[in-house]
Symmetry: C2
Subunit: 699 residues, 2 copies
């Protein structure tokens, strides 16, 4: 890790008469901090000379005391930091962390309290957090409110999803401050949904001003604290934090000293900068895992999509929904005969993975408990060390090893987090005993302990605990239905991916419009990689008969592009082997595409509309390009100036055929090769809902 660390006590900060200020290294962003007449701390932020966030209040309110007024500024401290670090995996082999910092200490009140707000102003945005130091008059806080405001100045465009205590699996609204109430009214709930009520949305969210200036609002390093929702005042254009409470109404139990997560604003007038920003990762703590050699980015296939295809297939071994894990003798129960997680079928997936260089095979439905898994009305849903009788684990373990393929474990908890903890150490030991080193976790349903929500403080701590314990066993994790990511994968790089958004599975349940994957990289992905499950070649569910009519909002070629536009170190090839075998030349791209990158260049971007990105493989000199569009056809402009000058490359282009269309003709693709160099400019057509993927190798 390379570090350039420059500290200065009197840098660019002005400090006089209860106010302080600092600018970003380039001067584009200027932050001002002061206290108002009530002694309430406020901040404002301008971008390129125009106010972006007007005076906005700061503070915390607890049962024991408030940290929101009667303050004066008692100290300020500034420094400039310019350092870089090397992630274990990611979009870049080296990340620059360059900011100016202003720490403002507020004191006052009776009895006297102290609070520091630490601001870091980067050229691509702002992060700030509350730091409650050890102090005489405060120890515990029963937090009722965080009073942080983000007071915008006009009726900006908003890209957002509803505020919800338990889920983020929504389609995105493109609306505005004034349009938000109507947009929110159009949503209906689903399995986990517990809407927060009010004019409330969640983060990461994106704003676009008339300028335009793009602003991603989120948080970084969410740990020991509830997730943040945002209350919106549609008349005043003000936003305000609304922390997810537990079911008894408490937001958080804190003990001092305590630092909150960072509140983050990624800001640029170039939409591509939002995608390229590493601000959230930079605000997270460095890696806490000493030896990371066992953390290996991977691709995997899985016994999974079969259960979504509309054929009568089931996670459960039996149709007897009264079976109780650990009680029912599954060796004697009647099997339903349509349980895909069986030995023969899993062997087929292992064979396929081995033949195509895919690292892993996920198997869902391998263990006792699926018969009535999403019940909430019982205190044990699953056993994590009891395979169903038709899943011959010793055989499959040895078979996978003989083929050089890794089985990927699945731990669906049905949101019974306490029972998962009850079994956790034994479950992880069971994994290691059986040669597994990656697990996909799931929390479908309402949370147990029943006092909690998916994103309340206790659950945030639960998931972090799972990640830490997994690291202790040398296990990589892909979390589903966990609190939305905030860059903690930097600190715990065994946390390869999360779902935490509406993923590819919804292509079987109404579909995801093409715009969906044009907004996720601007929002959800700023917290960390998503297990979106790209690679869907058979996009029409009607293919499987049985009257299912859902259709994916994508062409086949676009699915290849998603491996570039939705980068993840744990990337699925989600479709069935038999579908890949119908299109072996297209599948070649999935075989080839890396999941870890040395460099990334965002070439074109507009939220909800299009993204074009080029990435360099971390383990070779190959480049890859992915381009996607929304439901409109488009010509992507690919500027190859990222290539080293004077070197000829061969680009293998996987593109939509001229008559391709996500709805009418999704599987029409072409593969062609062209020679390119750093001076090449390519106008690449994309079909409606389409996309292009390229592999670029030295000639």
């Amino acid at each position: 890790m390379k570090r350039n660390f420059i500290a200065s006590a009197l840098l660019a900060a002005a400090f006089s008469a209860g106010a302080a200020g600092i600018s970003s290294p380039s001067g584009n962003l200027v932050l001002n901090v002061s206290v108002n007449d009530s002694g309430t701390p406020t901040y404002s932020l301008s971008y390129k000379g125009k106010t972006l966030v007007a005076d906005s209040r700061l503070g915390l309110v607890a049962d024991e005391m408030g940290f929101a007024d009667n303050f004066t500024i008692s100290a300020t401290d500034t420094m400039t930091v310019d350092r870089s670090w090397e992630p274990v995996w990611g979009e870049y082999s080296t990340v620059r962390d360059h900011f100016r910092e202003l720490a403002v200490t507020f004191t006052g009140g009776e009895p006297s309290r102290e609070m520091t707000v630490r601001f870091r102003v980067f050229d691509d945005g702002l992060g700030f957090r509350y730091e409650l130091p050890r102090q005489d008059n405060a120890n515990y806080l029963t937090l009722r409110d965080e009073a942080t405001e983000f007071n915008f100045t006009a009726d900006h465009k908003l890209f957002c999803i509803p505020g919800d205590y338990d889920t983020d699996e929504y389609l995105w609204s493109e609306t505005s401050f004034s349009g938000l109430p109507g947009a929110l009214a159009s949503y209906t709930g689903h399995t986990e949904s517990q809407r927060s009520g009010g004019n409330t949305i969640q983060t990461p969210l994106l704003l676009k001003t008339d300028g335009p200036v793009y602003v991603n609002l989120h948080e970084a390093a969410l740990d020991g604290y509830p997730a943040m929702l945002i209350d919106v005042d549609s008349d005043t254009y003000s936003m305000r934090t609304n922390l997810v409470p537990d079911r008894l109404g408490v937001r958080a139990y804190l003990q001092l000293p305590f630092n909150t997560p960072w509140r983050t604003l990624i800001v640029s007038d170039d939409a591509r900068d939002i995608l390229a920003s590493q601000l959230v990762l930079n605000l997270n703590e460095p890696c806490k895992i000493e030896d990371t050699s066992w953390i290996k980015p991977m691709k995997f296939v899985g016994v999974w999509w079969e259960m979504f295809t509309g054929r009568v297939k089931s996670w459960a071994y039996s149709d007897d929904y009264r079976a109780k894990p650990g009680v029912t003798d599954y060796t004697k129960i009647e099997p339903n005969g349509h349980h895909p997680a069986n030995t023969e079928n899993v062997k087929r997936y292992i064979d396929f993975a081995a033949a195509h260089g895919i690292d892993g095979v996920l198997v869902e439905g391998w263990n006792e408990g699926w018969e009535d898994w999403c019940s909430y009305k019982k205190n044990r849903q699953f056993l994590f060390d009891k395979p169903y009788p038709d899943f011959d684990l010793p055989l499959l373990r040895d078979y996978a090893a003989s083929k050089g393929v890794k089985l990927v474990m699945h731990h669906e908890t049905a949101a019974n987090a306490v029972d998962y903890e009850r079994q956790l150490e034994r479950a992880f030991q069971f994994m290691k005993d059986n040669n597994y080193d990656a697990v996909k976790t799931g929390y479908v349903g309402a949370i147990i302990p029943r006092s909690e929500h998916h994103t309340s403080q206790w659950m945030v701590e639960h998931v972090r605990h799972v990640i830490e314990r997994a690291a202790a066993y040398g296990i990589m994790v892909d979390s589903h239905e966990a609190p939305r990511p905030t860059g903690l994968c930097r600190t715990y790089p065994n946390w390869l991916a999360q779902e935490s958004a509406r993923g590819g599975e919804f292509e079987s349940m109404g579909g995801n419009p093409p715009s969906h994957t044009c907004i996720l990289p601007f929002t959800r992905l700023k917290g960390g990689p998503m297990d979106y499950t790209p690679g869907l070649f058979e996009t029409r569910l009607s293919h499987y008969g049985e009257g299912k009519d859902s259709q994916a909002g994508t062409t086949l070629a676009r699915q290849l592009a998603l491996y570039l536009t939705m980068p993840s170190p744990m990337q699925m090839a989600c479709d069935l082997p038999e579908n890949y075998e119908r299109f072996p030349d297209a599948f070649k791209f999935i075989e080839d595409v890396p999941v870890d990158w040395a460099d990334s260049r965002y070439l074109e971007a507009e939220p909800n509309q299009y993204i074009t990105v080029a990435r360099r493989d971390k383990n070779s000199d190959d480049w890859y390009v992915g381009a996607i569009t929304d439901h409109n056809a488009r010509k992507a402009t690919i500027d190859f100036s990222f290539l080293p000058e004077g070197v000829k490359y061969l680009a293998t282009i996987y593109e939509d055929a001229p008559d391709a269309d996500w709805k009418e003709n999704p599987q029409a693709y072409r593969i062609r090769t062209v020679t390119v160099d750093s001076r090449t400019r390519l106008k690449q057509p994309l079909a409606p809902g389409g996309g292009t993927a390229m592999r670029i190798t030295k000639k």
Copy 2:
């Protein structure tokens, strides 16, 4: 295990026109079951020809459906069982389990439901439970109410404590149905108390009719279900179950098939039979632990009472209440200098135990977290594998082993049950790695998960989980602040003891009146052994100076008798070594007294007044006698006819001196020896608040 199992389909049962009946083997108790005009199941119980429990309703009510009316009796099944079993430890080497059983199946309603109530009528009482079989129209139940009534027939005397969701550490009221409201109004709460409200009491409770007939009302085999409180109607003399809810109002989540705990009535006109009854154990499942050879009853001393004596001593290593376990560097924090769980002091206890043949040394305050342990306002209170810097575990482990003494672990959880589960497997492994095989657990404070109470369903399951996991590691458990025992120690005999009542520690906080230990064996002890912590030789807290004036309600000799009247396989000698060294001849009794018995004979008993019991050592032919009285002096009559005829024994009698008195002269005792045989009748004087202990060995 000896089993005599006689089944008969048409034994003593009458079954006609919606009614059924059965009598106990001797005919003393007669049970009748019927359905009333609403189709509600009812039962009644008579004892020696007189109605004890008049027609009382039965039933369960869930959100999904009720099981409380619209029933007819569709089947009855009867059998007689006479078998015996051998407990791993206890009051008897063999326990007879002799009852007649009547299983009544109720069906009806739209959609049709089915419920069996299984009654077992013993000569010393009744047990019955609800059995909800697998059925087409019901799977999950969200239980809102159990409608079981116990309709008594007159204004009987009641011995009881208040209904409370979180504690049972109360002094006992001797009152009546009509006096109950006044009695309950006199109680004040304490640390864990969450009074249920209403005219509500908890079990085990004792009734005494004018007859007199004595009735202990409790439950057996509480597992997967909340603890039972009892609502009392002081006008109609009716009692009714009131299950402990979670904080969201649900009593239990059940999945069929499910059997509730047994509701138990121990009945006799001889108070001694209540003490001798093994009915609750008989209604529990047989031992589930295959190899029990590692389960060893034990006596122990401990670094514990020092913290109650009023000297400035502390469980905590430091007085810095802001220290955070796992965060604070305890090696650098300032020690308070009065932390008794330090290496030198523990060595002193080990030396003492070794010199006196005491098996174990409990050490409380050995681990990180005591600085602010009972906080509730944080999500981690303790670490169970981090000794304080002044507790040299490797040294003490080896020192104890060299002396043949076992260290006893302490796991105070501060009622954070989920965090205990989070650490549990590692905590138990840490114990085994350090040669511990017994643990005292504690749950002081309000429960986390915050949706739960100490005795709600989830916590009942939590504690059972801890016991099961302890068994998997070969660890014996003594649970404090856990749900009151219901005989599960038969099924899990590594569960040696529980507190679950107001114990000896309260002698330092106002004292326990002498009557307290004259009622506990009739009530609390029917569920299982209590870690009461007898052996207090220095009964005046003023001995320690510092202005503490609490005095124990006991003479010194009575403390010895408690080892007989409060039997437990994990029995403490609670006082300080230096106090025992002041009275070495009296301490000899504690050295000698066994903690596991071949036979027990209750010679005299009246609740709240006196108990005299004789017990035969399981590992020798020695007998022991203990006799206690309340605040009144008394002459116990000890009939030695339990001795084999014609054999001379030497009885060493530890008795109150003639001028002894619990308040004025508690330490006045005498030791004398007399020769006794089976024809001896001894009139043994007991001082006010006094007692006598005898060791009886063959001459």
